[in-house]
Symmetry: C2
Subunit: 195 residues, 2 copies
Amino acid sequence: MAVSVMSLRHATLAALLDGEASGYQLAKIFDVSVANYWHAVPQQLYLELNRLEADGLVEARQVVQQRRPNKRLFTITPAGRDALGEFIEVPSKPSFIRDDLLVKVRAAEAGDLATLAGELDERATQAHTKSELIDGLLSLLRGKQSEAYFLAHSPRVGPYLTGLRGRTFERENAVWCTQAAGVLRARAAAISTRR
Amino acid sequence: MAVSVMSLRHATLAALLDGEASGYQLAKIFDVSVANYWHAVPQQLYLELNRLEADGLVEARQVVQQRRPNKRLFTITPAGRDALGEFIEVPSKPSFIRDDLLVKVRAAEAGDLATLAGELDERATQAHTKSELIDGLLSLLRGKQSEAYFLAHSPRVGPYLTGLRGRTFERENAVWCTQAAGVLRARAAAISTRR
DNA sequence: CTCTCCATGTAAATGGTTACATGATTCA
DNA sequence: TGAATCATGTAACCATTTACATGGAGAG
């Protein structure tokens, strides 16, 4: 059975549903809101946008600027929207976490506990910051509407739902990192007093 | 500043901290407990194990079997443990989610809402099953000890902590998938009655 | 008699990261 | 004067996935 591939394509197309954007702008968007479900560096986006253009899924128009480098603004085409529609029809492969830091925690017994606890604290802070950033994006989307009303009626329901997932993920990440750091530090202390 | 790479290596080494295993067994382990922080298909593991052996980070012994194909059991070497220790010292790059299904939800407006809701329900079930599986692994690890005691004293603290993260992740995944499916289905119904 | 499990690999293709390249503008 | 922002790309490299390949044992 066919399973969907090439999600960078579709993540890029999806980001263009909000309107035209340059590769540079998309890179920024990928850094904040798209980061909830996909990650890509600018180089990837420039390549992918050109491929999408060649395939007729996006259209570009050149914008000449005086004090800034010229840029190309991309718009999703009807064919691009269709491609997203088809993408939604084919089943996805299940997602998985791939996290260096969790590998380290798994292997904690083979390394320095204090160092690891330090990195966990840092990560907790980052995750907390990220969750607040997303929180801001969510209330910006929602405006004065209640969440229930927004979810029932707003055309921006897609970004809102992915934002909710991202916010929870980052919050839980922060909680867990803090817990793990505490556990490891307590153990590091226990080991050093025992000697 | 150097940032750690090649986590498959370290995930493999970490999995061998529990004792010797064959490539086939490791593939199983990767499917369940290691899946909380890394994913790999068997082919990758066979390759990686051979590379680790060539680098002296694991040792292999051949086990000849009568009714089963012969196998090779791998053990982590002191050099392998050192490699894990160094891995823990170098900072990790921040992790990110990469999920096809979230891309689809972001792009919901361009596709069929009922189809997407259906896939979200399926995913909710899978996530719930996975969370219960992990829950079982955790109580197996814990045995009769309280969680606090286990976290303070057990040598298996690494796997336990990653299990906690995985369990929360899957639980939150199930909750979110169910919520998103509900939202999208309600909207699908609203659209069809309006016509 | 078919399916799943055991058990290990090679080869080709795709996807993703890192390094390199350029250059003006604005802000501290 | 140095760093950050705007703006786009190429090339080399590394990691990951998919397809292909083999074959006996045991369960239903």
